[in-house]
């Protein structure tokens, strides 16, 4: 199963008045890592959409262990945890500048067409995600 890691710097607008990253924003970080994992596997997600294939999030979860702060450079890792005929599960970890684990999570995505109907994942995409 493939894995990929990116660096994400916390933006000011992503913090809240507790002085930490607002909890919903980790889902955005997850998506950034997922997009770059796909790109590293040779797939630009924007191209998939242009060809009429969409990956829609059907499940998401996050556990928050420690907070991230403004301007910190986070490491966001993403790995393919499972693939199905029309779905793929990704797992994520976010680490702080000191290497400590801040959050963990997963998303499950389904492949649908432009009419939002479930479709089989193309063989090529499947092969790239689980080589």
């Amino acid at each position: 199963m493939i894995e990929h890691s990116i660096a994400v710097r916390v933006r000011y607008g992503e913090t809240d008045q507790m002085g930490v990253v607002y909890h919903a924003n980790y889902l955005l970080y997850f998506e950034l890592a997922r997009t770059e994992l796909l790109r590293a596997a040779g797939v630009a997600y924007s191209d998939l959409e242009k060809k009429g294939l969409f990956l829609v999030v059907t499940e998401a979860s996050c556990r928050y262990h420690a907070a991230a702060h403004y301007d910190e450079l986070l490491q966001v890792s993403c790995r393919v945890a499972a693939t199905g005929k029309a779905r793929v599960r990704f797992e994520y970890g976010v680490h702080g500048p000191g290497g400590n684990l801040l959050t963990q999570g997963h998303t499950e995505l389904a492949t649908v067409d432009s009419g939002k109907r479930p479709v089989r994942m193309p063989e090529d995409l499947l092969r790239r995600l689980s080589p």
Copy 2:
């Protein structure tokens, strides 16, 4: 020229680590007031889009006089300041719970079709905006 005012409660995720509403979010408040001004004038903006007419923001400005805080109930007013053949200018004011002016701003919007080409504003819409 018509005018409309709405109440908006500040959400937690709209604050930043300064403990106040993040400055970009006022543009969202402006849009909420604009949408409700249109609705009060008999126009659901979502219906315009379904008919292939889009209002795209071509200019926006905001002056920040005082800060809004989490959970405060703000008053956001919107008025049609000018209309053209294919554009409309809205002006906004945001007042805090005590009635003090927090921010002021404007947006200019252009009417375009689904291909993003400029189109004349429909007579009916123009009449509703500048009765």
Copy 3:
């Protein structure tokens, strides 16, 4: 266990290019319902923070069954599912204008002080959440 439901209208900026509400934004809707459940139970969350008590999200999950669209008036329900000495679990459901279930989820929150150290939930708050 107490329960509360609110109406939330989908904002334009909450949609993405799939033409539906971006998945991370449901966590914001959950928080709105949670805040109003607390208010209905006699607790303004903003007052808790002023007194030095913070509720921090330690877990969140969401399952997406169907999409919400721009300008739709959603019903977001929230209920207290469990309480502990220093934590509370909320469960959520989001229903579309036609009454269909769009998303379900939960969050787990911990009570901490202004230094982000775990503290017991005040008796009064606990009683209001699980009467």
Copy 4:
């Protein structure tokens, strides 16, 4: 006057149902460029806040010439346009992957202390901004 340019990749959640970047998000891009201009000038904004100096946005404007799309790599430039005793004006330009100008804007920021009272800009900061 100093100038700085950064690359910003458009995130999925930054688009709206028109299929383009939601207009308020350009203010976030402006801030990213401003932060990196400061860093390039030897100032980490997060350090300023730790020392009790805050730069608050008092004015912002944006003109939208053409749309940015998901996954595009934008160039966001920022320059110091004017400095005062307790304020600084930045001007911005956002260019698309093909080099075309998408948006232009400005922000005016004031220096305040942790109590949000206006304070003179420290000499060192002023020198770094207008060498």
